[in-house]
Every structure is written in structure tokens, then in C-alpha cells.
Symmetry: D2
Subunit: 238 residues, 4 copies
Amino acid sequence: MTDLTFRDDMTVRLVKHSASDADVVLAARVSTQGPESQSEVWGLGPAEHGLIRYLMRERHGSPFEHATMTFYVEAPIFVIREWQRHRMASYNEESARYRELEPVFYLPAEGRNLVQVGKPGRYTFESGSALQRETVRNATREACDFAWQSYRTMLAAGVAREVARAALPVNVYSSMYVTMNARSLMNFLGLRTGVDSARFRSHPQREIEMCAELVEGIFQTLMPVTYEAFNAGGRVAP
Amino acid sequence: MTDLTFRDDMTVRLVKHSASDADVVLAARVSTQGPESQSEVWGLGPAEHGLIRYLMRERHGSPFEHATMTFYVEAPIFVIREWQRHRMASYNEESARYRELEPVFYLPAEGRNLVQVGKPGRYTFESGSALQRETVRNATREACDFAWQSYRTMLAAGVAREVARAALPVNVYSSMYVTMNARSLMNFLGLRTGVDSARFRSHPQREIEMCAELVEGIFQTLMPVTYEAFNAGGRVAP
Amino acid sequence: MTDLTFRDDMTVRLVKHSASDADVVLAARVSTQGPESQSEVWGLGPAEHGLIRYLMRERHGSPFEHATMTFYVEAPIFVIREWQRHRMASYNEESARYRELEPVFYLPAEGRNLVQVGKPGRYTFESGSALQRETVRNATREACDFAWQSYRTMLAAGVAREVARAALPVNVYSSMYVTMNARSLMNFLGLRTGVDSARFRSHPQREIEMCAELVEGIFQTLMPVTYEAFNAGGRVAP
Amino acid sequence: MTDLTFRDDMTVRLVKHSASDADVVLAARVSTQGPESQSEVWGLGPAEHGLIRYLMRERHGSPFEHATMTFYVEAPIFVIREWQRHRMASYNEESARYRELEPVFYLPAEGRNLVQVGKPGRYTFESGSALQRETVRNATREACDFAWQSYRTMLAAGVAREVARAALPVNVYSSMYVTMNARSLMNFLGLRTGVDSARFRSHPQREIEMCAELVEGIFQTLMPVTYEAFNAGGRVAP
């Protein structure tokens, strides 16, 4: 029997970037300084911090577009699906037509709340009982195992990958490269994290929020002033 | 035991549209006629046919963007995934977080070629043997059945839909509304149909091609002159 | 001497549309109802009003994208420039390469405030003195007149339109067709009108605001429930 | 009298970039190699060259989107207008509302053809006579001079910049930052250069072609393999 791998985490790795707070300042200043804006932005002093906060508050979003980041991502298909709904980004993803997928599947970690309580539009999530956790664990594992056997059976019979993959579940891991600019990335964070202090509270599925949190950490490192202004402004993408 | 439904077809239904060949002519003429372009385009004579062919041939694509179509689509998730990679469109899709999915799954029809022959980048598809067909049939059906039981088991235990759906395969049907303009639609047709006469021959998976063929039929009906010019020009989106 | 025309107004005319509040409801319901969403939306009762307000408040913007409107616009080039910075739209504009422009120029109306008071980022506009008004009137008219003579002189000498037009001022009128969806249109309204009750107060130039007000009137007529929700939500595009 | 500056050239300066041929290879390989694609692309050998040519020929455009370039541009407004019609890019431009413009204007160089010969859709450009050249020179210079005096007169009278600028001609220089990815950039080159060997021959205005040629030189330096494949494939953006 094939060894299936079950993961409960996501991978978001920074591959390359051209992203700094100075990029925002440079682009913004062309509107008021024209050709004089070309001088290097050597450091970010109070004036530059203030400018970035001003742009965020007034929702002047375009200066944030010149900062770009490329991520390598591993996540289950149901997460990839949500991510790729964000159209202001560039994607290249592992293909189940051109490649046999690996038997790597998502299984919720211990801490993942399993039970939805409340009415549509007002759900909260609760942990769930030990029995419910056991049910998820077993039912998911068995379904993955069965699906994987079906996939392998078809491949072994000489059936095309693109036909055989129909049997695979949406929690199988896929991988992709994503390039986003900082404006689009903040929109992604605003919608895909559920932060109580946000001006518009979002309710993302926990699994894409795990990805968004990893993106957020990288973004904070690369563009700390922009990141602080984003939070100060209620996490509304400009 | 639940009754599973297996389908081998796709649904693409025109919901509404604001799309005609005259839209293209009107928009194109503003560049040469300015305010005089406003007169109604009452009919499409030889001059209008010629203009549309000219725009297509010279790849002046923007006049085709003012014609919009909204479709209702039913297709398996693996097809929806490919479709939604087209970013110049608007999508709203059935949510497995907000709704229990129906037990409707895709199973290839008799005529669907199952075997890939050749080297990467140069594959052709062949029918496959009776045994291979039987294997696909059984393995896919059983995988769907098993997955559905797992999904139902979790739901019955009170587990949230968004957690339980992880077990469902990518051939479960989803539904969505899509709005595209004629330019984007032609790009979709160029990439998602494999027509030998095309200047750039595409190799789409058969299942999304089935959707594209339905889209193509509707497009041809609504915008016959544009459609003819698209084909005459080698099916290259302008 | 050529008769120059001076205008102080903008033209925004609805050419065609596929836009109604019902479009929004239909698209939104697919997420919770899947195939059952297909039933016609016969009327908009309290449930539908509530749904639209909910989508606006929670910033679920995609259902608003299926409603599209096409406008015919006449405005000076400096306004067209601002409008075309909105990338989620389709444009075809009168070409000064393919067509001789008409001698129609923008001149501010009596009521247009002419004087900017205050510091960068905190300007207000005030009416200006009679002398200032006279200065604008004369200086603008004379500049247009002189530029027009230069343009005509070059054309009369057999110089190409695209070369001669370099002399024309940015207040010469151009014409264009624009297609926008309701989501993009609300973003346009949010940025190009300066309404005190808006959650994010914008400070557009008055001339593009005049266009935006005309767009707003048409939008209100076609999609009254969406329009009301847009205002109730602080004029933030979802 | 103010000293006006007349220029006959364009500025396109690379500000920053995250663009190399290796980016394309990395992103493309995720489709066939999934997680294994992560290994560094250390060099570009024959396999990598072949892959890039294959992607271009088959019009697999998305891998080219991860390479981004930011340019600083100085060009007359009529060129900026054409450039900003390309929506797959990010722009920040000098504002005539927030800043007094400089008296820098475009005047065609000696070599610029001035006369259009032929029928619509089939024009060629010819040099023009000495008299025509003299006419352009004088008429343009005088129009700029007159317009500039009108602008200064209004500003001196205390009129707002955004009102006064209405008098300025479309050949006044503006400045902007532009960020484009390599796919969008190739589309820009395809449309804004007129190269006889191109599969789809474009007929851009010479002045934006001058910008495009500068962009092309930078692109060729940063991504030589992609650039070669672009030319080999008839300069059709993938």
C-alpha cells in the first residue's frame, strides 16, 4: 500500500521580490515633484512615514502597485481555488495533466475548529467534540486512501493522468508560483484574514487564512512602514 | 445508500447579454468619427462586415470589449478551475462553505478518449481499450461513492461543511455565473478549443473544450459577423 | 476666422446596458443555492433588498460585476485622461491621428470655483474675484484660439493630423465609449465625487466630478437598490 | 519672457526590476515538476532556451508575468495618453493639479516624417518639404509659447493650477513611473513598434514608438533569451 502523507500546514516561501517602502514613496512623489522625484530615496524619515500613512488613509492605492513579490506556495486544491479568485496576480500551478500528483493530503490539525454554530452570515466556529474530531480524522484519511488507490489503478491501467485525476479529492496538495503587488496583496490580506480590529471584518476559511498569515509575515518584513499603515487604517486595502 | 448521479455533459446557458455585432461597429467608429459615431447602427452592410474583419485582422481588440455575455455554467470542479484562470471575466460560484453539495459527479462518456500517446508537448489521445474504459468507469464511480459517504458521515456528525468537503473529488459538479466580454471570450475560445485550422493550435482538456463549444455556439448566434471574422483570422483573439 | 465653440458642460449618455438589481441577486445566490439560483428573480422584495445591503456592507463585490453599462462621453482631454486611469473598464476614443478634431473647448462656467486655498492635502476651493474670472476667461479663450490657428495652419500645409495636434490644448473635447460594470462604476463614483458623507472623502477635480454626477444619475435609475446600499454604506465600492 | 525648452527625445530609465529569463523557466516548470521546480535555476542551457521558445510559440503567456520592470518615463502628454491605454500595468504620473508644470515641449526632430500619404488604413509617412518642416517648427513653437504665457498669466493671477493647465498643449512633457511585467511589456512592444518582420504589423505613432524602442533595449538586456524568442515568434506577445 502506498504511503500517504497527511499535512496540516501550508507553505508560503518568498522566491524573489522587488518590494520596499521606498518604492511607494518614489512613485507617490512623482505626482508632486515630477522629474525631481528621481533622486534616490535614501532612507525613510518621518516625512516618508507620514506620506505612506496619508496614501493609505486617503486610499491612494496606485503607488503601492510598484512593489512586487513572488511566492512559492503549497496548499490543498480547495485553498488554491480560493486564492486564484484574486485576479490581480500572476499564477503558475502544478498541472495534473502534465504530471502525476504526489499522495500528499490535508488533514486538519488538533487546533482547527470543526463545528459551525449560528445562522448564515453570523457563524462562529467551535472546537468540536473528541468524537467529531475522530470522525473527521478517519473519514478524511479513508477517503484520501480510497481515492488514491483509484487514481493509481487507473494510471496503472494506462489511463491518461488528466482522466485519472478526476477521482482525487480537493484536499490533495498542489503547488504554485504567485506574483502579487503590494496593493493586491493587501486586498488579499483584508479578505483572507479574520482580524477583529479590521474595519471590514472578513470570515475566511481557516486554511486560506493560514496562507494569508504566512504572506503577512513576509510582507511585514519587506515593507514594515506600509504594513503598519495598513493595520493603522483598519486593514482596508488602499 | 445515496443515489449518486453521474453526468458526462456540461451546462452552459445564456442568462443575459448586451452583445451584438453592431456594438463593435459603434465603438470602433468613434475613433474616426467622434461625435458622429452616435447615430444608430441600423444594419450591418458590407462596410460594417469589412470593418469587423479589419479590426480582427489588425488586432484592434478594444471595440470587442463592449459586448458582454452572462452564462450559467454547471461543470466539474476541475473544469471550473481551468475556466477561472481566465482573469478578464467575472465569476460567482456555488460555495461548499455555505451549501451542502449535491452528489453529482462527472464520468467520461463513451466517446471520450482515455489514453495519451506520445511525448510531452506532442501528445495525442486515443480511445483506449474496453478494459481501460471499464477501469475508468469502475474506479471513478467507486471513488465518488466512497468520497460521498465520507462527506455525509462527517456532515451527519455535525462537522462543518467546509471541513467535510475536503473529501470530495474534483469531478463533483459545481455551478457558477460568468460574465465575459467578446474579446475575452474569443481568447477563451482560442485557448480552450483544439481546432486544427487555428493559427495557434491549442490542446485543451476535452472537458473544458466541451464547455467552450457550448460558449462558441451562443457567441456565434449573438455575434455572427464577429464570429466569422474570428474564424477567418485563425481564431486568434484580437 | 474659425468659429470656436466653448462649452462648460459634459456629456454622458447611456448607450446600452445589461444592468439591474436583479442581476446582483441572481449572481449572489449561486453561492448558497447553486443550481436552484437559476429561477428568475421576479421582483425585489425585502429579502432581496437585504441581500444587496449585506453584500455591500460585507464588501462582497463580485456579484455587482455582472451588471454592465456602456456610456457615450464628451469631455475635455484632461478629464478623459483621469477617467482612463480606471483600468477596470473598456474604452474606445476619438483619435486625433485618424480624424481632424473639432474646435470645441472647455471653459469653466460661472459657478466653477477658481481659487485653491490652503495647504497641500487640505485644499478648499473658493469662487475667486471677478478679475480672476475674467483672466481665466480671456487667457483660456485666447490660448485656444491661437492653438487652433496653429493646428489649422499645419493641416493646411499638408502636415499629418498626428503631428499638428501636438499644438492643441488639453481642454479640447474628445469623445469616447466606456463600458463599466457596476462594481467598477461604484469605485469610479467613490473616487470621482467629493461627497461629505462618504467614509473616505475624495477630492476630485470638479470637471470629472461633473461626469461622475451624470454617471451617478444613470446608475441610480438602473439599479436603485444597489445605489441606495452604496450610499448607506458610505459610498465605498464593495 | 520665459525660456521654453523644446525636446525631440523621450526618456525611459530602468528604475528597478525583478526580471530575468530564469524567472520564466522557474514558473513554467512548476506545471510539470511541482515541488521539484523549486531548485534554483543556475544557468540557462539549451533545455531552458528551448523551453522559453516553446512557451512563446505555444502562447503560454503566464510564466512571463513573474518578471517585472519599473521605468521612469518623460514624454509628452499625447504619448503618455497612448501608453496609459495599456491596462495591465501600474502608473503614477506627475500631476498638473498638485504641481506647476515645467515649460518643456515636444518638437519633432529633423528626421521625423511629417506627411501622411495614402488612404485610411494604408497610410505611409514621408519626410515632407522644407516648408512643411518650417511650418511645423514655427506653428508648434508659437503655440507652445502662447499657451505658456496664458498658463503663467492665470497662475500669476492666483488661479488654481488645475484650472490654468487647461490652456497647455498635449505636447507638454509629463513624467511617470510605470511597472509592467514581461508579458504585458511584449504586448506593448508588439503594438507600439512598427516592425516589418512582425506577424501582425502595427502602425504606432512615431513618438510612442521612440519610447517603445527604449523599453525594448532594456528588455533585451534583462531577458535576452525571452527577447530572442519574442522576435523569432513574430513579435506576438504570448
